[in-house]
């Protein structure tokens, strides 16, 4: 069995385009997912029992069903309830929603990890509830939750490969298509593996740096 990697140079442009789409959908989903997840975590702190129960159901539905099924519900089922999105939009939105449930849980655990005395102290100093969250709780919890956040971000980077199933032209879709046009499945899939490993390795490195950044105030 001889491997022939000339495809890489031959289709370099297409592969790069696919990589671009992968990055765009990943970054979009992470950004949107984190905002929604943070909002949910904060809402859980402030609201009453009923809204909390609704948010809990939202989180549990998204955490107990496969991402692929959620994607299908939004992309193929969406037109039934009046939401017609392009494949890329549907992919980014559903990936963001999927991530938001996990991000919400991570942020919630972060809020719980800050000792209550800190919040009382901020109250005594006359800080508003919002600035208590922003100035007191967030910086302290970031140290604790950064590893979990990085982990989730890495999981989402790999989850983008699922978008190929609804024909988003990202890395996996591009390379499988090249494979089936040229009948060279093994080489293209190996290139695919290397691309994802690079992506994950770089994210891990950046994550380590972010962890240092978050804990900077602890070091003298």
């Amino acid at each position: 069995m001889a491997l022939d990697f000339s495809v890489v140079s031959q289709y370099g442009g297409q592969i790069l385009d696919g990589f671009g789409i992968t990055i765009i959908s990943w970054v979009g989903a992470v950004a949107l997912g984190m905002v929604v997840g943070f909002a949910i975590a904060v809402l859980q702190l402030f609201t009453g029992r009923w809204i909390r129960a609704v948010l809990r159901v939202y989180i549990e539905i998204l955490r107990t069903t496969p991402f692929l099924v959620q994607l299908f519900v939004l992309y193929y089922g969406g037109p039934n309830f009046g939401v017609s999105l392009s494949a890329l939009d549907a992919g980014v939105v559903s990936l963001a929603l999927y991530g938001s449930a996990y991000f919400a849980e991570i942020f919630r655990s972060g809020f719980l990890s800050v000792p209550h005395g800190q919040i009382e102290a901020a109250d005594c100093l006359g800080l508003s509830r919002i600035s208590t969250i922003w100035r007191v709780q967030l910086p302290q919890m970031l140290v604790i939750i950064t590893p979990a956040l990085i982990n989730m971000i890495i999981i989402l980077s790999k989850e983008t490969s699922v978008l190929s199933i609804i024909t988003v032209p990202e890395l996996t879709a591009v390379l499988t298509q090249i494979g089936s046009e040229q009948f060279i499945y093994v080489e293209t899939t190996l290139v695919l593996c290397v691309c994802y490993l690079m992506l994950v390795a770089v994210t891990q490195k950046l994550g380590g740096w972010a962890e240092l950044k978050a804990s900077r105030y602890l070091q003298r």
Binding site: M1, E60, I61, T64, T65, P66, F67, L68, V69, Q70, F72, V73, Y76, G77, G78, N80, F81, K158, E159, T160, S161, V162, S164, I165, T172, T176, G179, Y185, V186, T189, L190, L192, C193, Y196, L197, V200, A201
Partner: protein, 216 residues
């Protein structure tokens, strides 16, 4: 918007397909556990070379999306002259991938076992293999019960991906129903419900197991 008759028509099909989802997940978990024990033993072995192999395995199988591993198993094995059915390829990919994730969980469990236990086992004359099976694995399982249950739930969800190679589990069946009835929303919602049900039961059982065996 909703079509009740589609629900009634689809439900039995999905229930039948959920057997395949559970089957693949359970086999994947068991084989994955065997792989994980090997990986952990390598990762925690005194030999630097073995440790490097274990870490490389973990990095490779956790760094590549399961979907890609699945395609690799599906396309790669035949080029080596091994013709496998989609189901076998799917189980192979899931077990190898799961081995890496379970390995990381078990590593934590193994490190949590007090050193004295292993020394005591050596003192009473247990062989290393015996120590592993009788002393280390049971305690590591107890220490990591919550993470293992979490991993099982993730595995049930991950098994949706094997629909891509054509194994008729829940998601694939829902796709077929959606294609034949033109009611994708109902089909996929029922599929989602089936997954929620399975994972709900798992998480309840998990809580029970945690209370029952969780104390090490």
């Amino acid at each position: 918007m909703f079509d009740a008759s589609t629900f009634a028509h689809t439900l039995p099909l999905i229930l039948q397909a959920s057997r395949m989802t559970i089957f693949v997940s359970v086999i994947g978990l068991l084989l994955g556990f065997a792989v994980a024990v090997l990986v952990v033993t390598a990762c925690l072995s005194p030999s630097a070379w073995l440790r490097r192999c274990g870490n490389l395995y973990t990095f490779l199988f956790r760094g590549v999306p399961l979907l890609v591993q699945l395609m690799l198993a599906y396309y790669f094995l035949p080029t080596l002259g091994i013709n496998v059915s989609p189901l076998v390829a799917a189980i192979a990919a899931i077990s190898l991938c799961e081995g890496a994730y379970l390995g990381e969980i078990l590593r934590g469990g193994f490190l949590g076992i007090p050193r004295g236990q292993i020394e005591a086992a050596q003192m009473v004359g247990l062989s290393p293999a015996h120590t592993l099976i009788r002393i280390e694995i049971p305690q590591a399982l107890k220490l990591t019960t919550p993470s293992l249950i979490n991993e099982m739930i993730l595995l049930i969800k991950a098994s949706a991906l094997i629909s891509v190679v054509g194994v008729a589990e829940i998601t694939r069946t829902a796709q077929n129903v959606a294609a034949s009835t033109f009611r994708p929303l109902e089909a996929y919602l029922i599929a989602g419900l089936a997954y929620m049900l399975i994972n709900g039961v798992l998480s309840v059982l998990g809580h029970y197991a945690e209370q029952r065996f969780g104390r090490a």
